[in-house]
């Protein structure tokens, strides 16, 4: 089965085409275009305009790159939520138009679950992981338990990526700030204490963000503040992930989301896994970030398990929670 997936929850619009090969996800093409605000954070309407500008061309290019014909596509899936309303609507509209034109079925999928499933689908050996999903808006520890993907821990205020971006903007870095903070942190060496905020398996970043900004305004070196910020936030993330692994008694950990590109975070989660005798997995970068292939793959899994969606049911849900999804494709 060949499935085309459209991702459009936030700053990226992506079109991916996948084929299932013996239960694994074979990616035929996966194109992404990212909206970069001139200043400040993501403006939802501007981002949606960006997506509307590029989506038609991206679909054609993706089909071409995949080496298939439009007629070969068996299913169109799209990110139904969670995300920014205008962006979700743009992607959903494109998906509906495409499905109706091709006279092929449509499937709306949960973006967070797609991040987990693409790990299981593309990384050999990854079968039942605890996912640490770290992106701009989302920071969740997700695992499969009692028939659903459940959130074992999550941020109580802002996502880790958002925390890094907000800090980056305050010190004059360009969006996305994570990679630049990572570079600065490599040159830092002096640890400046920051609030370490864990509540059960949940975490909070806003107090730490304020404290970090205060260090900068008091003249501490940017390198040291970035270093301290990464060390503290990533230790918190690694700790809650480990707590979820202990709680669910799972032996695999998977990273996902844009912040999973950070080498220091990878290193820390990998060390934690090794010390527990667990296995660490991280998908390739192009499927870690928001992308169409993961949407296509989850669409396929859902359709293949017998689920169907009418155009009328394809309404977006900005607050589509991970644990709202009935997982029919896993035993």
């Amino acid at each position: 089965m060949i499935c085309l997936g459209i991702e459009g929850t936030a700053h990226s619009i992506g079109v991916g085409i996948i084929k299932d090969v013996k239960g694994h996800c074979h990616i035929l093409s996966n194109l992404i275009k990212t909206y970069k605000p001139e200043k400040g954070g993501i403006h939802p309407r501007e981002a949606a305009n960006h997506h509307a500008t590029y989506i038609a061309d991206l679909i054609s290019e993706s089909v071409q790159k995949a080496g298939v014909d439009f007629a070969d596509i068996d299913l169109v899936s799209f990110s139904q939520g969670p995300g920014l309303g205008p962006c979700l609507r743009t992607a959903a509209t494109a998906a509906r138009a495409l499905a109706l034109t091709l006279e092929k079925p449509i499937m709306g999928v949960n973006h967070c679950v797609a991040h987990l499933e693409i790990g299981r689908g593309t990384v050999r050996g990854c079968t039942d992981p605890v996912l640490l999903y770290v992106s701009g808006a989302n920071t969740q520890v997700i695992a499969f338990a009692e028939g659903k993907y459940r959130v074992f821990g999550e941020t109580l205020d802002i996502g880790i990526g958002n925390c890094l971006d907000k800090f980056g903007r305050a010190i004059g870095l360009e969006f996305p700030c994570g990679p630049k903070i990572e570079e600065l942190a490599k040159k830092g060496s002096r640890y400046l204490p920051l609030p370490y905020s864990i509540k059960g398996m949940d975490i909070a970043f806003s107090g730490l963000l304020t404290a970090a900004e205060n260090y900068v305004s008091k003249g501490q070196s940017l390198e040291d503040v970035c270093y301290s910020m990464q060390e503290t936030t990533f230790a918190m993330l690694t700790e809650v992930t480990e707590r979820a692994m202990a709680h669910t008694e799972k032996q695999e950990v998977l990273l996902g989301g844009g912040v999973a590109s950070n080498k220091r975070l990878r290193e820390m989660v990998e060390m934690m896994a090794r010390d527990r005798g667990a296995t660490f997995f991280v998908p390739s970068r192009d499927v870690c970030v928001d992308n169409g292939a993961m949407i296509a793959w989850l669409g396929f899994l859902m359709y293949d398990s017998g689920l169907r969606m009418s155009i009328g049911e394809s309404i977006i849900n900005q607050r589509y929670r991970t644990d709202m999804v009935e997982v029919s494709w896993r035993g």
């Binding site: 109580l156 949940d202 690694t238 709680h247 820390m268």
Partner: protein, 207 residues
């Protein structure tokens, strides 16, 4: 001293050991290679100290907790009484409804006793409760603190509510029994705590 690891948690090992001829449990906080020494040392020492203080205090307010025998801050070791019971996590789903209700009420009463004295457990899950001699023992105060604010009490109970939803999803209504017990023992305004919990749920992402 010979040690037998009973359980390897996320931050500590629970070992069976001997102390003055008695079988005891040792909670040993392990160094984490993934975090820098500065953070590791600070977390291990402060959590060991805080936990021991909270256990001792909780006992004085009538909450069942293990007896403390020894505390080593530098090594991050707490030596305490061995409770030969069962984790509530492991038994709750298999009990009959009236037993489940009774246990949940007891849990709520104990949480209220803690909150009456501004003790926040910080990680109230059913993995951290042991049923032993008909009592619910609270263990692992590792993320606890002293805090009298409504918010802290709300977050504390919310952790348990989430645990019911994730680990005992068929019995998530049991949180209501917990709250009945809580209401009975809590000296403050229990409905204000419930309102706080609802606030926290709503504040969570995508609710």
């Amino acid at each position: 001293m010979a040690k037998k690891i009973l359980y390897r948690g996320a931050e500590a090992e629970i070992c069976l050991s001997k102390y003055m001829g008695k079988t005891v449990v040792q909670k040993r906080r392990v160094k984490k290679a993934y975090r820098i020494k500065e953070i590791d040392t600070l977390l291990i020492a402060s959590r060991t100290k805080e936990e021991a203080k909270l256990i001792a205090e909780s006992r004085s307010y009538g909450v069942s907790v293990p007896l403390l025998y020894d505390i080593n801050l530098a090594k991050g070791i707490i030596t305490m009484e061995y409770l030969a019971g069962k984790r509530v996590k492991d038994i709750l789903n298999s009990l009959d409804e009236s037993e489940r209700k009774q246990i949940c009420r007891k849990i709520g009463e104990s949480i209220a006793r803690l909150h009456n004295h501004e003790i926040i457990h910080g990680d109230i899950t059913t993995s951290n409760m042991i049923l032993f001699n008909d009592r619910i023992y609270f263990i692992d105060f590792g993320l606890g603190c002293k805090n009298g604010e409504m918010e802290a009490k709300g977050v504390d109970l919310h952790v348990l509510m989430e645990a019911f939803e994730s680990t005992h999803s068929k019995y998530s209504h049991c949180f209501e029994y917990v709250f009945e017990g809580y209401k009975k023992q809590f000296r403050g305004d229990a409905s204000a705590v419930m309102k706080k919990i609802e606030d926290i749920v709503r504040r969570g992402r995508y609710r």
